[in-house]
């Protein structure tokens, strides 16, 4: 967010960075929810001072010696100050303990390679062990091509970790932000117990350009946007950014008691029926 001005990709108007920071980076003209860096997203979401980060310095190798990948990594680390496309850690949201993971599109379009896969899987494993719910803010351009088949396998690895967390009776809320595409949608992004999205976020497996070229026709207005997906049964709710923290806290609160639940017997006393 170093730029003084930011142009809205939706309506084309330009606003001062300073103005946008007061609207949570929601376009005052058209309501478009701009991409956020993972640190800004955390700031908007979690309780101040509650974050303890996991594996901050875990970073990509270049296992295939893929042309240009090493330089690309070095540059993006320098530009963003992050070592990977996802930040993970333990935090509190309005007092509710949670493992929270946030993807950052500035880092090679938040594509998923070994590091994203590892950090996501590890985050779910940690949450399973500590009996914590998980919130993931998803965003991704898809698989990290430069790591080849290793990237594809991260889909299986993360999905398996989500399954173990779910089998332990724990809550996972997936928040789909602009844009969430490719292998991330086909793995952990769409495996939430509850799936929320930001307004107008682009969400889909195949990119719109690929689809247009394949079927050789123009796509309808609003195709693959959050509103389109809600109507098609793929989302639980679209939550504007200003309500996200409260919505998450409310959902976390209502699931907290399930951890206290005696597995064999449903007991109202534990809930405290008023």
């Amino acid at each position: 967010m170093a730029n003084l001005f930011i142009k809205c990709p939706e309506c084309g108007t330009t606003h001062f960075n300073k103005i946008l920071s007061k609207t949570l980076f929601v376009c005052p003209e058209c309501g478009f929810h701009h991409k956020l860096t993972s640190m800004v997203r955390l700031k908007y979401t979690i309780d101040k001072g509650s974050f303890s980060e996991f594996d901050r310095k875990m970073r990509s190798m270049d296992p295939l010696n893929f042309p240009g990948y090493d330089d690309k990594l070095k540059n993006v680390i320098k530009q963003t100050g992050s070592y990977s496309a996802v930040i993970a850690g333990e935090a509190k949201i309005k007092g509710e303990p949670v493992v929270v993971m946030v993807m950052d599109t500035r880092f090679i379009m938040a594509s998923m390679g070994s590091v994203v896969g590892e950090k996501i899987a590890k985050g779910f494993e940690y949450a399973t062990e500590k009996k914590l719910p998980v919130v993931v803010f998803c965003a991704s351009g898809g698989a990290r091509m430069q790591e080849g088949i290793l990237s594809l396998m991260q889909m299986a690895k993360t999905s398996a970790a989500v399954k173990r967390h779910s089998d332990a009776g724990l809550l996972y809320i997936s928040v789909l932000t602009h844009p969430t595409t490719g292998g991330v949608t086909a793995s952990f992004a769409y495996l939430g117990d509850i799936i929320l999205a930001e307004p107008k976020a682009l969400i889909g497996f195949a990119g719109p350009r690929v689809i247009e070229q394949t079927i050789n026709q123009k796509l309808p207005e609003g195709f693959q946007r959050a509103e389109f997906l809600l109507e098609h049964g793929m989302l639980d709710q679209i939550v504007p950014r200003e309500f996200m923290r409260d919505t998450l806290a409310n959902l976390l609160k209502m699931h907290r008691v399930s951890i206290l639940r005696n597995n064999k017997k449903f007991r109202i006393e534990q809930y405290g029926l008023k």
Binding site: S166, G169, L171, Y190, D193, I194, L230, E231, H232, G233, M234, L235, D236, Q237, T247, N250, L251, K253, M254, H255, V257, S258, R261, K264, K265, F266, R267, I268, E269, Y271, G272, L273, K274
Partner: protein
């Protein structure tokens, strides 16, 4: 006097009463007090008449009353912190079925229900409260989510039936209903279903394989609509009221037959006369049912749920 005439007279009386009362508070004219007393007596007599002399036909009218409270109305009165959840994760979000998570009397619950529209536009969007397969699949998704987290499930049912249409058939209306019956029979969490208006056939049963099934006084629950029955059996849909009588679709008959577990009283004149009063009665019944169900181990609950449906049927062994 016909029911709608009584209703009209009651409304007129009520508005005269309100006028008089506001005048009294303005100039505290005590001479008006006996008149008001007389009018109030008349009003309550009318209400009693309206309430007691209900014919099967009038009951159906009440069950289908356009102002009858809907699932979202009950959620509004009974549930706090409600988060509505959408979609079947397969094909669409069916607006004829609503559901979500919220707090009932301090405990988290999953609430699901068929949803009729409040006006024509809303009714078109919601297919007049008749769900498609995606509606039943959304309901099941939310019920399985409730099972995972050990939340009790509360279902509200008010539907003429599952939507009869091309798309519904293409996507397996029958399969969707069948699969709900199959899965609900072993859901490892308490399930309470309330028929609030029309309990239309399989489309209603798909939310009613429950530990406790309640009906509101003026609701109906039937294998087929009275109109449908009359037109099939007697080739004359105008004989619907005879069919209604013959089918025994009212709460009292169904309680006697062991089909339902209890009746929730409606306020005088029907649920649409007093949303808050209706919700209060439902709240009390839900509370006591949840308290009762919480005494049992899950295995016992499932055994009892199985036995409850297993024993229904009348026959003579050969």
């Amino acid at each position: 006097m016909a029911k709608k005439d009584i209703e009209k007279e009651l409304r007129d009386l009520q508005s005269k009463l309100d006028n008089l009362k506001s005048e009294i508070s303005d100039n505290s004219d005590t001479a008006l007090l006996p008149i008001i007393k007389q009018m109030e007596d008349n009003a309550s007599t009318l209400k009693v008449e309206l309430y007691r002399k209900i014919t099967p036909g009038e009951r159906i009218q009440l069950a289908r009353h356009p102002n009858r409270p809907t699932t979202l109305d009950y959620i509004n009165y009974l549930i706090t912190d409600f988060v509505q959840l959408h979609g079947d994760r397969r094909f669409a979000d069916d607006h004829a079925m609503v559901g979500g998570i919220g707090m009932f009397e301090g405990i988290p619950v999953t609430v699901i229900g068929t949803q009729k529209g409040k006006d024509t536009k809303d009714n078109i969007k919601r297919h007049f409260g008749m769900p498609h397969p995606e509606g039943y699949r959304k309901a099941l998704r939310l019920m399985e989510q409730a099972e995972k987290f050990g939340r009790p499930i509360i279902n509200f049912i008010d539907t003429a039936g599952a939507y009869p249409g091309l798309g519904a058939e293409e996507r397996g209306q029958g399969e969707a209903i069948a699969y709900n019956l199959y899965k609900m029979s072993t859901l490892k969490t308490p399930v309470i279903s309330i028929i609030t208006g029309e309990g239309g056939s399989g489309g209603a049963l798909a939310l009613a394989v429950a530990d406790k099934v309640f009906m509101l006084t003026n609701s109906i629950y039937s294998v087929i609509s009275p109109e449908g029955c009359a037109s099939i059996l007697w080739k004359d849909s105008s004989k619907a009221m005879d069919a209604a009588q013959a089918l025994k679709i009212d709460a009292n008959n169904l309680l006697q037959m062991g089909i339902i577990d209890g009746i929730i009283e409606e306020p005088e004149g029907g649920a649409h006369q007093d949303y808050a009063g209706m919700a209060e009665n439902i709240k009390n019944k839900l509370r006591s049912a949840l308290e009762e169900l919480s005494q049992y181990e899950i295995e016992h609950l499932l055994e009892a749920r199985y036995a409850k449906f297993r024993k229904i049927g009348v026959f003579k062994e050969g």
